[in-house]
Symmetry: C2
Subunit: 199 residues, 2 copies
């Protein structure tokens, strides 16, 4: 055990996700020896985020204002909503530059073991957005894992009754990948989702 | 890119050692969603460490006072000094409970590529400590790698002329290890350092 303040810092750092005891110690000693100005900037960055960053009241994405910059942007197509699990996923989709609609961040995926049911997600807010009739398509872009698939199925069934086009991101071989190393589920999906080679 | 504050936090976190862009993003979102009280504690821990923690004026170990708790402890044998590279190493030696002397933290190891020569280490402070004649043995416990070995050799040669017993930690097979998997240098050292099996 180190003396008071150092050990306390190691403990606090060790509570962060993906930071084990050894990393916490290394980070603590880095902080200890780092330039005080750099550490002041780090502390301010944490404080600012906690004080200023909120979640967009419409889509749930992170923002420093009432609405996020995508919901504020009049050039974004309001008739298509891409439903994702986390704010991080918004950025991932944005990087593709192939989606010009709006988003809806659920805040997670259905995961009964972790106690996350549909009520814990921002599904009610999604239904509210559908009320004005402007939305024509919902693209479900949850993670292609157990929880994401369960959430997608739940949403698809629920939205079917409303009569809106509901689509799901294609599953298949990753571009640049190797067919030989694809797992059987992915390869199976690639077969199911095969497309006309001439189109 | 995220909006201002979030991206700034990701950038600051990404500057920490061992934190890549993905980890920085994950940490930033954890901080964003975490309990404000927890984050306040983290910020306070960083601030406190930067404000309060100093280096012991005698041995260079981390401390919140003028002298570290080992240098302050009258039960520690003042005639033996264990020379280590970092404060972390003090803790590692302390955990063995087999050393009851004092320490001297060099603050690194000789590494010409990184621009660290003997002048950048706390070697002058070590020589000052030897002046009072109370010290009878110096145990060099630098890391068993290239830089640590170079530092050990440098110190051993320098201290030889002063006429103090200078020892180096034994190299050999790690306890609980497997002879078959030991690298040839370690195994070679284990042969060189072999001891009478009956002693």
């Amino acid at each position: 055990m180190y003396e008071g303040a150092v050990q306390e810092l190691i403990d606090e750092l060790g509570r962060l996700p993906g930071v084990g005891p050894k990393s916490a110690q290394r980070l603590a000693f880095h902080i200890l020896e780092a330039d005080p100005q750099d550490m002041k900037r780090l502390v301010e960055a944490i404080t600012t985020v906690k004080e200023r960053v909120k979640f967009c009241t419409v889509c749930g994405n992170v923002t420093e204002q009432e609405l996020c910059n995508i919901c504020r942007d009049p050039r974004r197509d309001p008739s298509i909503i891409c439903v994702v699990e986390e704010s991080k996923d918004v950025l991932a989709v944005e990087r593709t530059r192939s989606f010009r609609g709006r988003y809806h961040v659920l805040g997670g995926a259905i995961n009964p073991i972790a106690g996350v049911g549909p009520e814990q997600l921002r599904i009610r807010e999604l239904l509210t957005r559908l009320n004005d009739g402007a939305i024509q398509e919902i693209i479900i872009a949850t993670d292609p894992n157990l929880e994401g698939e369960a959430t997608a199925t739940y949403l698809a069934r629920m939205l079917k009754s409303i009569g809106i086009t509901v689509t799901r991101l294609a599953s298949g071989l990753p571009v640049g990948g190797d067919l030989e190393y694809a797992d059987e589920v992915t390869l199976g999906r690639a077969f199911e989702g095969r497309r006309n080679a001439l189109s």
